[in-house]
Symmetry: D3
Subunit: 144 residues, 6 copies
């Protein structure tokens, strides 16, 4: 959740022209991806700048957690995604969906992961599932 | 949470004229009821259209859950309402409040149900209680 | 959750002879109903005896919550049961099941209530559903 | 969470001139502090006006909980803050941050409290940590 | 969580001789694996025998969720494991660890999955992490 | 939650003679304090011995979190206690109660902290409150 500058494999997704195509179908359920990123980066900078040792080390450790090891990065991001979905954190889901898009996870893989979160977490997860699917479609449009 | 077209017993509540009266007292705590419904229907369609068997069956099963059986529909909707409140899901609360309005549950019954959610779930529930009461009053205005 | 001495309509259920029949089929999933009650009563006494105003008033308020009003006692106990199930608190489920047995709620009504908790809360609820069903069967044996 | 009129030690913080300085750096993550307060006060009045005994007593009891006793008010507000953070309730966090500002808790004390919430609650807490820090900075600007 | 008879690839793990080696190092944190399985199977039979349509369909759907699709079975079981860990359900963790053992997931893969659950869920997860590691070591001893 | 060897200021509390007095009033609600400690230390050793970098750093960071800074150790332990109570983790509550006893927190301070957890978390917290009070009384007996 805390990486400030992950290598972006799909920079095209973030170009201004694709942002326009996003605007063509306005986002309805709250913060846009661009607003989310801007707020996240601004506050991460403010938090890390405070110099609280525990918080700063936790942010660094959080980044390490998703690096390749016995499991590859894609699997780890899917684990982070499903954990975020059952704990019902939209911002965390958005973050991991963004990373999954960068790792070229397929739409079918995303839906199967979300289906596990839905069955484990129940109907209370459905509003978050809707926002996750909306985000994923937004990311697909940006990547075109 | 997933029914696409529940029989509406109180169609008057959804007429354009009552929507105007709602606008006279603007909704302060986020998405309006109309925006919530639109987003929900659009995303339900997108999700179900994907054809993921597990998700689609879960959505169908969710609908079956609240049908009359040993318990009547009103009691089941109140059970769904209180479960949604203690799990602190505003969208789920909104959905069950809408269904309760359609089933002509009284304001006193709603408040007693909410009071159980408050006592079981504690003060952390209060912000969701506020939004639930605001939604209920909105539904009452729409039904007039 | 805190009532110390609810009027018991089915005192036969708590007679020593029925306790024997329970012992014939030993309880597998942890504390027996008798141990639960003993621990609960002993600790409630210790807690209330401490004289902490906030805690004591909360315990009193908790009792008031389930008294008849716009909704009857049975409906309120079912609301407490489902709230407890989705929040996955075995002791709270046991308490409300005991009250439901006293209020002569039927097995079918219990199962429909539990099914709502299962759908709202997801598969994570299943272990608690198992223990709830085991408790209910225990209460039925005690009531024979 | 429910006090309607806590003694405000720092009334300057709420003066119209400081509200202007807030507007100079617009709030990005949702409801402004002023909107939050307005909605909270309007709905508290509507809820308490309903006359539901359980809800009204709970609101009164909630206020009593944070009064000085064996622990002082500042410590109690920090306990409320961390409990709200690990339960991931932004509105509750905002409320306790406001009270902490009134009690002249320092920025370092706030960050250490938040760090405990982060370690106990994990990375799922991070989006709420960001909003908490953003709120605290907003409160500091208002108090200048 | 609900499969009654998954194909067991490692039947040796469940032979009586390996059960003896388990008993040589007694299990300290509650129910043994054998007790867990027995209780689970007995109650699943009682629940499914009740014939509640919603519950029975949910149990069937839960089984379908972890079948191979765009993602393979091992990845899906790891997703179920991490979801169970962050939601802090020991029985669910035990179930998915058992399935992971059957699918020959390595100890390093289990630890990396658990580490994601720990970082996402925070220190509140640690007691469940301990029990998960104890279970996994028990499963390894049974498989020797 | 993870410190292996906190400086013990009240070693008398752990002497064998006081353990006897504990046994005179047997513990009813599960694992005894001694069993809890033994299991915790054995598993912490197994987990840390595995050498997973993320887990080991998190355990180290968890220890740092409760060291004195802008807030003193006692306040931080109370923050950890209330966070653990509202998240309903008995083992975490036991750990922080043990540390509070070592830091000579008074019974009244413990009860006020628990009362905040009760009000924030609601009646679902009550079973954990009972076990917390039982643990605290056990710790007081051990310290005599």
């Amino acid at each position: 959740m805390t990486r400030k500058n992950p290598k972006r494999k799909r920079t095209k997704a973030l170009s201004s022209s694709s942002v326009e195509s996003r605007d063509a179908k306005p986002h309805e359920h709250g913060t846009s991806l661009e607003e989310f990123r801007h707020f996240r980066e601004r506050l991460n900078a403010e938090i890390l700048g405070e110099g609280n040792l525990v918080i700063n080390r936790f942010f660094a450790l959080d980044t390490r957690t998703y690096e390749a090891g016995a499991l590859d990065v894609r699997t780890k991001e899917l684990l982070g995604l499903v954990a975020s979905l059952v704990l019902r954190c939209d911002d965390c889901v958005t973050y991991h969906l963004t990373r999954c898009a960068e790792e070229r996870v397929s739409r079918a893989e995303i839906f199967e992961s979300l289906s596990i979160g839905l069955i484990v977490g129940g109907s209370i997860v459905i509003p978050h599932l809707r926002r996750a699917v909306d985000r994923w479609s937004e990311l697909e449009r940006l990547a075109r």
